[in-house]
Amino acid sequence: MLQPIPDTSIFDLRLSRRGLRLNRMCGTLCDPANREAFKRDEEAYLSRFPLSEAEKNLVRKRDFAGLIQAGLNIYWMLKLGSVTGNSLYRMGAQMRGESYEQFLATRRLKDAV
């Protein structure tokens, strides 16, 4: 059995089960027409899916750390990032509790983005 690792989410079956609704919604964003629909009217798009109010709030607030805890897989979260203008590094900075600039300052090469 896997043991917890500090400051790390391990995407196991329990977490995957918890996040299934969110992952399903984000999975639909692999279709360009759906991405357009999301950008045009986010609320209407979210209402197409059986998401809980708490899950919708995490999306509305762009609470990436909260979404990971709610079972959204990082690779499905990247699709949400794409439609909300949040790159991996922006999401990462937020999860670290840093500004984007603070995060970039910790990297060796800032332009290999």
């Binding site: 400051d7 989410s9 391990i10 995407f11 196991d12 692999c30 499905w76 990247l78 439609v83």
Partner: protein, 280 residues
């Protein structure tokens, strides 16, 4: 002469490399060290002239969704479409398959007790395409090699063990060598190296671990494949567990294979590794 494996590669499949490739930026200073490392690899591959690349990779939610998630899945099609993983479809030609060879691999692997999910349709994305971009130059209408995608679950635990992946590689070797047509095959194990993409430990890398992994993959691959997922994730970050796919490649190489290239570059959030082996 039956088919044979002529070479193996372990290499990372960082998505930003695909973006840089499409924008023509791989020769800009940030990516040049990586680009330069692959120049001799492409020359080497053009000497080996493989007919088929077996690409061991993982999908990132482009074609495989979590409602049903296979542990091992293999392509059995004559063409693989470029999938949209949420950022648009990359301007690349579809990848030619070889369904007869796929069928043989599947028959042999299932007989060897590797019960793979068979995919007569499969879209491929950065996990597969970034290694293809780095290793082969495509034309407008296709690629210089056919490919067989072999998808491994490295994202939803429980994952296959490293040892299981190594044994799958050994079974792939046996399957290739029992195929009648005279094909030259390379096996590519993709993903890793150290990285973590979520939690407060986002951005974690461990170059010392990555260099150790490259050393041991060359010298003690069976021992390396015994490393637990727990240890791998603790040492190298949760997403570094993709490295188990390199064991499939290594398991497919003979004990006589010699290491040819090795490179490491870690500019941002992922240790980008490269190692190649050639059969004698």
């Amino acid at each position: 002469m039956p088919s044979r494996i002529v070479g193996g590669l372990g290499l990372s499949h960082v998505p930003s490399v695909g973006v840089a490739y499409d924008r023509g930026k791989l020769q800009a200073p940030a990516w040049k060290p990586l680009w330069d490392a692959y120049v001799p690899v492409r020359e080497w591959l053009s000497r080996l002239k493989p007919d088929v690349a077996i690409v061991v990779y993982n999908d990132h939610g482009a074609d495989f969704m979590l409602e049903k998630y296979p542990t091992f899945a293999i392509g059995a099609a004559d063409s693989y479409a470029i999938a949209d993983e949420g950022f648009g479809t990359r301007p690349l030609p579809a990848v030619r398959g070889d369904s007869d060879f796929s069928f043989h691999l599947i028959e042999s692997l299932v007989a060897d007790e590797f019960d793979l999910t068979v995919c007569q349709e499969m879209g491929v994305e950065h996990g597969f395409l970034v290694p293809m971009n780095l290793c082969f130059e495509h034309a407008a209408d296709g690629w210089p090699v056919a490919a067989i995608p072999l998808q491994v679950n490295v994202i939803q635990h429980p994952l296959p063990t490293g040892r299981r992946c190594y044994k799958l590689g050994q079974a792939v070797r046996k399957a290739v060598q029992s195929y009648g047509p005279d094909l030259k095959v390379v096996v590519m194990g993709t993903g890793g190296m150290s990285h973590q993409l979520q939690g407060r430990r986002f951005g974690f890398m461990n170059e010392q671990f990555d260099q150790m992994f490259l050393d041991e993959l060359e010298k003690n691959p069976q021992k390396l494949a015994e490393m637990s997922h727990q240890e791998l994730m603790e040492q190298a970050g949760a997403e570094a567990v993709e490295l188990i796919m390199w064991h499939v490649m290594r398991g497919a190489m003979s004990p006589r294979a010699r290491r040819v290239h090795r490179h490491y570059y870690a500019p941002m959030t992922t240790g980008i590794g490269l190692i190649t082996f050639e059969e004698g």
